[in-house]
Symmetry: C2
Subunit: 864 residues, 2 copies
């Protein structure tokens, strides 16, 4: 007996599909001819019509997802390439200006400093004016959005424009800023806009939740097309944005990111920048013997040091932001002159990097890209002893200073860039911190590598073959380790391989990244989580793995017990009280105040709608009319009877149930079986239907309609404060009286939308499991029940508080996620049985009095 | 009002932790001295004690997870390396035998054929005898186990031994078999055994669900240490085994797999196989210009062809298995002579690969590893024209045949290996299919590459620099594409990079893999899913992405409506009926048959225990004694009163509720607040406690005790068929009478473990959402409720049926996963409101009759 499930379920599904397709076909139909008409009016009208039809054919055959992902990849690759081109041009211009003015150092300095200051100031101003949401990395916001929180204005076209232009200017200034984070944001915006655009062609793109899946793919595309690193992009975006991940989405990400990276690199070939598709920062380390086994301790040292460095960077970055906020005097001044802070920071940083000045000790003339290329270089800079003098060629020359050696330059570079990057990323322009950190890491790795090369000039191995140490390999390891430590990701290792095109250092890189992560995770949150905390975004903190938080905290310890609820047989007055006493967005609906059996949840807005419908002037007018009509009213429609009767009897509670009964038919809508309207997305249909019914009865005569301010005040609080252009034949005292009567009626829930299966937890659910469920299902609240009875409620707020509170208390016991899902047996402890017995006793109690006193009314209206 | 949540939650947690630690400290304490004693008795006793203490210190400081993962990585690396060593020795022995007998072709043939036949037969026989579960890949089983299904005997030590030895022999035979799949299984077994071993040192390892998390990491380790590919291993294991995965687990996998791969490669260095840590199949393609943009179509062709090839392989493999099963005559014969089939297959395959015979046309003398090395070779084999004659050096010579050319050899190799691999993987020995497929893919890629090289002898580019085509690169692409197509994974791309140590071909590989996947996924299930279907493992099929299944099917269409349930006020007779009428493992507990409000679920075993306790001879004896005692019995304990009263009144239902009341205290255990027993893992504590209570009263006198076969038969069915060595003073008719009376008593649920929050769905939940929830939470059943009332039940079986049924019916509407979690508003359609109204009406109805007839008993015992 499988319910209605039969062999012809397929047939049923097909019929349904056909019906739906017809429906869908109906909706775009009215739009379609006008569209085509519009196209036909253009010059190449037929062309466009043809293209439109082609696209429709393509979508119907290939599938919307693929088309969407290809388009997304294409657009993002173009954006990335165009931005890179613009940035390169900007940097070239600065170099050209600086080079052209080499006769006068002062002029040179002016040019060197003014150029980035102007660009950054413009970027900050432009972003501020157009869309302040475009400021910063964007990954924290995306993390929050993917968690299911709606952040307004974060995915709009305005923000897109602001971010793209702002980022181009910011990076064109040569400041130590990155493009990765913003690119995740840009790709997400691109995906949103694209799906909005494509939804013009069909209904499939309109689904909100599908868009969130596409956003996950977009994040991968963002990283993928930024570094031409599809695999690393997918992994990085997963690590940075998700807690639980569907393998399905991973596929989409791979597809889109690969396509995007491909196009991005093809564009470089097409532009004759490259001969063929290669890695962005191609290395040429020897393949046969990339490193010796005995060098591994050095790699481990890089990893551990990077871990500390990464944690320090995050700490430093947060301290700067907090310092700026705390200093009220500075803050007030800066708030007034918003562009002063960016300009000031840029001025300081560019002054310090001025090549003829201090910049000569820190390779100040190199752009970020050049710096990376030189750091990953194959040669050993610090060759000493036996070999011929090292020749610094081309851009490598920047690292050489006649009066100091490479080590000093590298140390100065690392120290200066460290605070510069931490400071620069706090500037209110669109910018990321990944790339600056990556460069610092590479420099640190190079430093260790050069030291090793100086220490063992002939390589470590004592056998016949001597292989020199490759400092470039150390740079690669350092870059991966430090960026991994700052972002708390392992996938930087993959990104590094894809950036360099070589995998020979896989094990050193992996070891260093893991060590760096282990150290950094135990000291500080990731940079993105740090920003989430600073910005106070509504995100659920992670139960970090490194910390081994082990909770013995249960839901009953953190839940809100004193929650307001709606009972099935409550009055409108109760609804009003509930609305006034709580700000919860979802109210639980229980069977009765005594049984507390949870039946579902009802939205606050719905409750408000119920109330305002009940007290609406339309209803009053209607009722008034019916009062005017003969009291026996046997010619009246059912609905009019209803109100009449309700008015008469609403003051007396004992008789209410018996009196309500005959009124039911009036409320019944024409029978529509659930199967007839499965796709009913209309939210208030029932309510509207009822209202229409009333309105049809009320048929407002134009003469009677006059603007009348209806203020249904009760205890000084406005309930329905809207203006209704309606007849108002009652005097305010009468209105109040009428409303009082109305409020005493029983609530009719038939027009309200009720969620029949709100998420429920048990009191004894551990905090760990609760966190897992909230993360998995993207919940923002859950009711706590005990054998069907509502006992409390947990929202994201409580959960966050509990987790942040518990992070300090260590050593309590952990229950692994999903543990108790599988062994539901294990979860029902002794305490549950106790609860059941309690319920059982109540049950028995419940029976007892009735038998003692027959005829006693069972619903004892105990005040809440 | 946050319940008990206060600022000192941290303090509370700390206290709890301290208490738990004390508790935990208590439990191993009794064992610990004996352990130490045992160690002290050994020779190096103090050493071991010290080691033990060191380990404890390490565990307490570093964290159990890390220690566990390190140990797992270490063990698996050792296993992998030892196996590789043994396999290499085996293959060497075969080569040596074959080489030594080169005077006589017949002897050579005998040696060539006998050796693998013996090995395979031994492997098959050994596995069959020791643990038949070790047969095959193991990935399908792991997928099922990670889904939460318990497969008996799949993770035992016996299976581990059988798999390791069987696999070594199977691979040592030189058959086209792989070690990847079995390694995933071996690593999982290793993890299970290791956690069982480590649980001797502390309670933390005993958690079942934690073990499942560790299994996920173990799968990554399996792949990682097999190929020395940590990143690819993690990704591959995720793709192959999970639907949803926690980013937390991903971390563990990375850590363990990296450590394992590192040790694995270090062992090779230590054994002087390698000079340093490098990739397993290191390639030396040129870095500057790996491929031309115009070669991309060729790569795409490889991808698409591999997609078809992969699907064909899966189809072929399945057909062979099905053919063998269908042919009953063959089957019966083979079942009798279980070792004949492996021997026969081996004989055929080794005959065909005999190098002086047909093997000369398919490089038969090369081992799998040599084949791969040659296929990834840097040289172009088919150099024609301008250059000097190609010199086949070393093992490359195998591909040259004096009377044919390389193309023929490659084509023959591909065709022969294709069916050989498909056939060989059906042999009942531990073996995987990844590696054979990988080799075939590489050969196919090489073929395309050589063809391209022959077609464009000077490379494609027309510019000044001419770069030759690198056929080895094509081989890499082909290997990744075909193995990706067969396994439906993208991560083979990463594995290929890690195996070769080069990433220069990243974009061609990614493009080919994605195309291959797109083609293969639309034609056939993955090899692992195919095996799951063949073996009929309890796994939930995927809602494939490529298929765009769009469901309009809802839970109400597939659920079982006619389910058995237990009511709170039912009698033992009802329990008995329910047990006899259904085989469900979890029975829903509802408030009453009329209200049907779901209160929880109770396990079948628990219901059985309730029944058998009620009808147990102990109770009978106890009751008998009390009957002997004076009837007024005011000196008796509460519990004895209970049974007396029950016996007297159990036939009359109307009075039962009033009579039960005074009995309650007897059932109340000493008050134990839930907070006092948070870690109560004991399953049957309550039941045992009650039974102890009864037994304490019954204090069996040894003289009275005699073995008495108690068979409580009712309607010919054995209820409690166990033998109880107990006093049996009643005659069988009396016993039956007594039991009849007992069965009419109300059930006392206080001793039963009840899951107070079984997973609930609503009728209108879509199939898609149901699938997502089941996958996410690893459920195997869920109750369907409508506003608190139980209306049906869905189990994995129904879901699987529905999905497999729906796979044929296309074009129905999809609701994306997690969609309705977020917008709970959208999920409550009009139909829900209707349901609510229905409930409301029922509620009203329910009140009505009571008011009509005061004093009427509300629980009308309508028979189920």
């Amino acid at each position: 007996m499988y319910g209605r499930y039969t062999q012809d379920l397929g047939t049923f599904a097909k019929d349904e599909a056909a019906r739906l397709r017809l429906q869908e076909g109906d909706t775009p139909q009215p739009r379609s001819p006008s569209e085509l008409l519009e196209y036909r009016q253009g010059r190449c009208g037929p062309c466009r019509v043809c293209a439109l039809q082609c696209q429709r054919f393509l979508i119907s055959r290939v599938g919307e997802d693929w088309v969407f992902l290809i388009l997304l990849g294409l657009v993002m690759a173009l954006v990335s390439w165009a931005m890179d081109f613009a940035i390169a041009t900007c940097l070239q211009a600065q170099k050209w200006m600086y080079g052209g003015l080499d006769t006068n150092v002062l002029l040179q300095y002016m040019a060197w400093v003014t150029y980035p200051t102007v660009l950054i100031t413009f970027s900050a101003g432009f972003t501020q004016i157009l869309a302040p949401q475009a400021v910063g990395s964007g990954i924290p916001e995306m993390k929050t959005i993917l968690r299911g929180v709606v952040l307004k204005e974060y995915l709009t076209f305005k923000t897109f424009v602001a971010k793209v232009i702002g980022l181009t200017c910011a990076l064109g200034s040569g400041m130590p800023l990155g493009k990765e984070g913003p690119f995740v944001h840009i790709a997400s915006m691109c995906a949103t806009l694209l799906s909005r655009f494509l939804s013009l062609f069909g209904g499939f793109y309109e689904n909100e939740a599908r868009n969130i899946e596409m956003l996950a793919a977009a994040c991968a595309v963002g990283v993928g097309c930024c570094f031409a690193a599809p695999i690393g992009g997918v992994l990085f975006s997963i690590e940075v944005t998700s807690t639980f991940f569907a393998v399905r989405n991973y596929w989409r990400g791979f597809f889109a990111a690969t396509f995007s990276a491909f196009i991005f690199r093809v564009l470089a070939v097409w532009n004759k920048d490259e001969e063929t598709i290669t890695a962005l920062f191609k290395t040429r380390f020897r393949l046969d013997f990339p490193f010796d086994l005995q060098e591994l301790p050095a790699f481990a040292v890089i990893g551990i040091a990077s871990g500390f460095g990464g944690a320090l960077f995050v700490y430093f970055n947060r301290k700067i932001v907090k310092f700026m906020r705390r200093q009220k005097a500075i803050n007030r001044f800066l708030m007034k002159k918003r562009l002063l802070f960016p300009a000031l920071v840029t001025l300081i940083i560019s002054t310090l990097t001025f090549p003829p000045g201090f910049g000569q000790f820190m390779a100040g003339q190199l752009t970020q890209k050049d710096t990376l290329v030189t750091l990953f270089d194959n040669q050993t800079w610090a060759k000493q002893g036996i070999n011929d003098e090292f020749e610094y060629l081309g851009i490598l020359e920047a690292w050489l200073h006649p009066r100091s050696n490479v080590f000093v330059t590298l140390v100065v570079f690392i120290l200066m860039k460290f605070w510069m990057s931490a400071l620069a990323t706090t500037i209110p322009v669109p910018c990321g911190a990944f790339m600056p950190v990556f460069v610092i890491g590479a420099a640190f790795g190079r430093l260790v590598g050069e030291s090793m090369a100086a220490w063992f000039p002939d390589g470590i191995q004592t056998d016949s073959n001597t292989y020199r140490i490759v400092p470039g390999g150390y740079a690669v390891v350092g870059a991966a380790a430090l960026s991994g430590a700052v972002t708390h990701t392992v996938s930087t290792a993959v990104i590094v391989f894809e950036l360099t095109g070589q995998m020979s250092h896989i094990l050193p890189v992996m070891i260093a990244v893991i060590l760096a992560n282990a150290v950094a995770q135990s000291l500080q949150p990731s940079l993105y989580d740090s920003i989430i905390r600073i910005k106070k975004l509504p995100y659920l903190p992670e139960l970090g793995w490194g910390h081994h938080e082990k909770y013995n905290v249960r839901v009953e310890d953190i839940m809100v017990r004193d929650i307001r609820y709606v009972t099935l047989n409550c009055k409108y007055r109760d609804l009003q009280q509930v609305l006034n006493s709580t700000k919860m967005k979802n109210l639980p609906l229980v069977e009765s105040a005594e049984s507390m059996i949870l039946l579902g949840s009802i939205e606050r807005a719905q409750v408000g709608a119920l109330l305002s419908t009940q007290l609406s002037p339309q209803r009053r007018l209607l009722m008034l009319r019916q009062n005017v009509l003969p009291e026996d009213g046997h010619q009246l429609s059912d609905s009019s009877i209803r109100f009449q009767v309700s008015t008469e009897t609403s003051s007396g509670t004992p008789a209410r149930t018996s009196l309500r009964k005959p009124l039911k038919p009036a409320l019944k809508r024409p029978p529509s079986s659930p199967a007839d309207s499965p796709a009913a997305g209309g939210t208030d249909q029932t309510g509207i239907a009822l209202r229409n019914l009333f309105c049809a009865n009320a048929t407002p005569e134009p003469s009677e309609v006059r603007a009348c301010v209806v203020r249904c005040k009760e205890d000084g609080r406005a309930l329905v404060g809207r203006l209704y252009p309606l007849p108002c034949p009652m005097a305010p005292p009468q209105i109040r009286e009428w409303e009082e009567v109305q409020l005493d009626q029983l609530v009719d829930f038939s027009s309200a939308k009720i969620d029949p299966a709100p998420f429920q937890l048990v009191e004894h659910t551990s905090l760990h499991k609760t966190h897992t469920i909230f993360s998995l299902l993207g919940l923002d609240h859950a009711f706590v029940t005990s054998i069907g009875r509502l006992v409390g409620m947990v929202t994201l707020k409580e959960l966050r508080k509990a987790i942040e509170g518990s992070l300090t208390g260590k050593g309590v016991k952990v229950r692994p996620p999903l543990a108790s899902f599988r062994d539901s047996t294990a979860s029902s402890s002794e305490a549950d049985t106790t609860a059941l017995r309690r319920f059982w006793e109540r049950h028995q109690h419940h029976h007892m009095p009735r038998e003692a006193g027959p005829g006693g009314d069972e619903d004892d209206n105990t005040p809440k």
